[in-house]
């Protein structure tokens, strides 16, 4: 026993309606014989059987729509008896091609439209379109307060933007502003209808006052926040300062040797060695590695050295070189390069911008020999590094020329005293004399 199923008569046909059966149960049919007429929404087509045999039960009534593949009748091998009662055989009225949708219930009577004020005044400008109303709401602009510059006083999108003081900014200008830390709200556009363009942003960036030589920056680089932080630091933190000169000869010559057989990409700069020494010293003297909060020193859970980085055009950020005490010198070097690169392209992670446990300001490249930095609350220490410079220096009683660097420490006298600060610098100095251990 097998099934005679609804065939697919075209790529876009997924169901059909039996119009009329051309056979009845018990009929002997040859392969290819027409079995029924099917309506496929486009026309009535005869469908044929692919097997010879005896028609069994007709499973689908004329007028019934079924999916392609649905069994329409059973087919018996010769001799099998049909089981169920025969389905009514006959011609059903051909269903109209498109089924008329049932009449909808009488629609609820529409209340007479209350004329909005805009429609009352015949000469009033056309009401703002829904998307425009949405845009205005988004920007918190009260449309009633906006006078339209469009035809017949129609309010245009530009009117809404102008009302919301949203300057139109070219994409390049918007990117430049972000890179240069320029606040777009403060920039006047010289383009058509006040559009802010790249040169406007550059002009704004140049007009900014010079960066104070000494202070470190809070992670947020805009001027107002830094100013608040620095004045709070000076107001609240009793700074003490200690400094020393470190003979960098051993470090510098060690670096020259190891760099000789390193590719340029893996070379290590003195600044990295200094950072490494500070990190190791901070691990040895945890009292300088933490925060002064509500009158109590809270030690940092690990050493995260804040590195003051100058982003182009004077802006400064001090993201943390995390777990610096665990980073071998070559690894720290690459981490440093990566950190600086990302800082400059504005892609620092949240963790990196969170508070370092102490900060280092290396202004050697800017040419100063000694730095007296302002501690960044709530930290309790800041290490200042000057320029590496060749100087006459007594070596075992003889006069020689040595590469020297001035290290300084600004300490929060509430958390530590000059004694600890001095020992901290001495520790850094000692670490720098054994570079291979860095």
């Amino acid at each position: 026993m097998s099934d005679f199923t609804m065939p697919s008569l075209g790529a876009d046909m997924d169901s059909g309606t039996i119009v009329e059966w051309l056979v009845k149960p018990g009929d002997h049919v040859q392969r290819g014989a027409p079995m029924a007429v099917v309506d496929t929404d486009k026309a009535a087509v005869e469908i044929e059987t692919f097997q010879s045999g005896v028609v069994g039960d007709l499973l689908v009534e004329p007028g019934q729509r079924v999916d392609v593949g649905t069994p329409l009748a059973t087919m018996l091998a010769a001799g099998e008896a049909p089981s169920a009662a025969p389905v009514s055989v006959g011609k059903a009225k051909r269903p109209r091609a498109r089924r008329v949708p049932p009449p909808r219930e009488a629609a609820a009577p529409v209340p007479p439209a209350v004329p909005r004020e805009a429609e009352v005044a015949a000469a009033a400008p056309p009401a703002p379109s829904p998307p425009l109303r949405h845009h205005a709401a988004e920007l918190g602009v009260d449309l009633a307060s906006v006078t339209g510059t469009g035809t017949h006083g129609r309010i245009t999108r530009r009117d809404v933007d102008a009302a919301a003081h949203r300057p139109r900014v070219s994409p390049y200008a918007r990117r430049l502003a972000e890179e240069l830390g320029v606040d777009l709200a403060a920039v006047t556009g010289t383009g058509t209808s006040g559009t802010v363009r790249a040169e406007d942003v550059r002009a704004a960036a140049h007009a900014r006052p010079e960066v104070p030589p000494v202070s470190t920056e809070a992670p947020r680089s805009d001027r107002a926040t830094i100013a608040a932080l620095m004045s709070r630091s000076k107001r609240e933190i009793p700074h003490y300062y200690v400094a020393t000169t470190v003979d960098m000869h051993t470090v510098v010559s060690w670096l020259r040797d190891t760099n000789r057989d390193r590719s340029v990409a893996e070379r290590i700069v003195p600044a990295a060695a200094l950072l490494r020494a500070v990190a190791l010293a901070a691990r040895r003297m945890p009292q300088l590695n933490g925060f002064w909060v509500d009158g109590v020193f809270v030690p940092g859970e690990d050493v995260h050295v804040g590195v003051a980085i100058s982003v182009r055009r004077g802006a400064l950020v001090a993201p943390a070189l995390r777990h610096a005490a665990d980073l071998e010198l070559p690894v720290l070097m690459q981490a440093l390069r990566d950190l600086v690169g990302r800082a400059r392209s504005g892609r620092l992670t949240r963790a990196e911008l969170a508070d370092p446990t102490l900060t280092v300001t290396d202004l050697g490249d800017q040419g100063v020999e000694e730095v007296f930095g302002v501690i960044q609350p709530p930290q309790v220490a800041l290490v200042g590094i000057g320029r590496l410079v060749e100087r006459p220096w007594a070596v075992d009683g003889l006069l020689g020329v040595r590469p020297l660097v001035r290290l300084s420490l600004s300490g929060d006298h509430r958390a530590t005293d000059g004694y600890t600060g001095a020992r901290f610098l001495a520790t850094i100095d000692d670490l720098l004399q054994h570079p291979e251990a860095l």
């Binding site: 496929t40 486009k42 692919f50």
Partner: protein, 352 residues
């Protein structure tokens, strides 16, 4: 360059000299393979295994078989969307054609062409073509290339009575005749351009008569009698190889089923179909062989069973065959970096 105005338009009757028995049995085998293959395709389409468009040539088997049995390996074929018979007789494996219908990567066009675009450059089968008359100008070009390289190969180009009305046919017929190209125009006149009877689409329905006006030899042939088709083709191909320029065959035939899978056939009545069924090309040949006492019934039965098994195998392999990985979607939009040496038709042609 005088052009002999030959325009024999006589119809060759069925009294052709009977080819040796073995050859007639092979013709019967080819026609049986086509018939069983296409009948199975109709079932597979109804069961949604094959999608898109499906145009079967059940009833026109004698045309493909009669023409292609004359051509040699060096000759080329350009066909249309009703091409399964041409492809199978030309030598495309039934597995590769069925796989193509299933859209599998093992299909002869990697599943990208489907029923209307079967390709096999190894057999110089330059595809079906879904644009009515679209392949004809290309066939002119293939013939032109062969002629320019002084080769005696022939290009056979199949098209229907519908294509006969396309501008591309007229331009090509004129160009081929003008340049005396080795091209065989095979017009499968099945009396209907989809749903339009020939008298509603051609002002003059004697297509061979009109073809002669381009200055090429033209014949009308009984497209249901494979022997007649073969004889006419042999005659035309001899003239072409001799450099007499293109020939035109009007092969009068009939398709027993609808134009395509979806076609309520409102345009013709059952009686006409019944009348043409009486001259089913398979039955004509078996009757002729039986009359001449040349039909070995057991061999005939075995051959039919083997053809049916061949179709079953093709369907099974097609069902298991993989689809082309989606990552290959853009491959071959442009030819892939091909090393030196004749690996593609373009190059082979130059080499041979």
């Amino acid at each position: 360059m005088s052009r002999r105005r030959t325009s024999a338009t006589g119809t060759t009757g069925t009294g052709a000299i009977a080819p040796p028995t073995q050859h007639r049995f092979e013709l019967l085998r080819q026609m049986t393979r086509i018939r069983l293959f296409e009948e199975r395709c109709v079932e597979l389409y109804s069961a949604t295994k094959i999608r898109g468009f499906l145009h079967v040539g059940i009833g026109e088997e004698a045309v493909a078989t009669g023409v292609l049995t004359v051509l040699t390996a060096e000759d080329s074929i350009v066909s249309t969307y009703r091409e399964h018979g041409h492809a199978l007789v030309r030598g495309l494996s039934m597995d590769s054609v069925m796989a193509e219908m299933f859209g599998k990567v093992t299909g002869c066009s990697r599943g990208r062409g489907g029923s209307m675009h079967l390709f096999d450059v190894g057999h110089r089968f330059y595809g079906g073509n879904a644009i009515v008359g679209g392949g004809i100008p290309m066939a002119v070009g293939i013939a032109l290339a062969d002629r320019m390289r002084h080769q005696t190969s022939v290009t056979a180009c199949f098209f229907g009575d519908g294509a006969y009305a396309e501008g591309e046919f007229h331009e090509s017929a004129n160009l081929a005749a003008l340049w005396r190209l080795p091209l065989l125009f095979c017009c499968e006149n099945n009396l209907y351009a989809m749903g339009t009877a020939i008298e509603h689409e051609q002002a003059e329905t004697d297509l061979a008569l009109r073809a002669a006006s381009y200055g090429m030899a033209s014949w009308s042939v009984d497209g249901m009698d494979v022997a007649a088709v073969e004889e006419a083709t042999r005659h035309a191909v001899e003239r072409i190889r001799a450099g007499d320029g293109p020939c035109f065959l009007e092969l009068r035939t009939y398709r027993f089923r609808a134009h395509s899978m979806y076609d309520p056939e409102l345009y013709r009545d059952k009686a006409e179909v019944g009348h043409w069924r009486e001259r089913d090309p398979l039955e004509l040949l078996t009757a002729a062989m039986r009359a001449d006492g040349e039909l070995d019934e057991d061999a005939f039965e075995a051959m039919t069973a083997e053809a049916r098994a061949e179709v079953d195998r093709a369907v099974d392999t097609a069902e298991q065959a993989p689809f082309e990985p989606v990552e290959d979607l853009t491959r071959f939009v442009y030819s892939e970096a091909v090393g030196p040496g004749p690996t593609r038709a373009g190059e082979e042609g130059a080499g041979s």
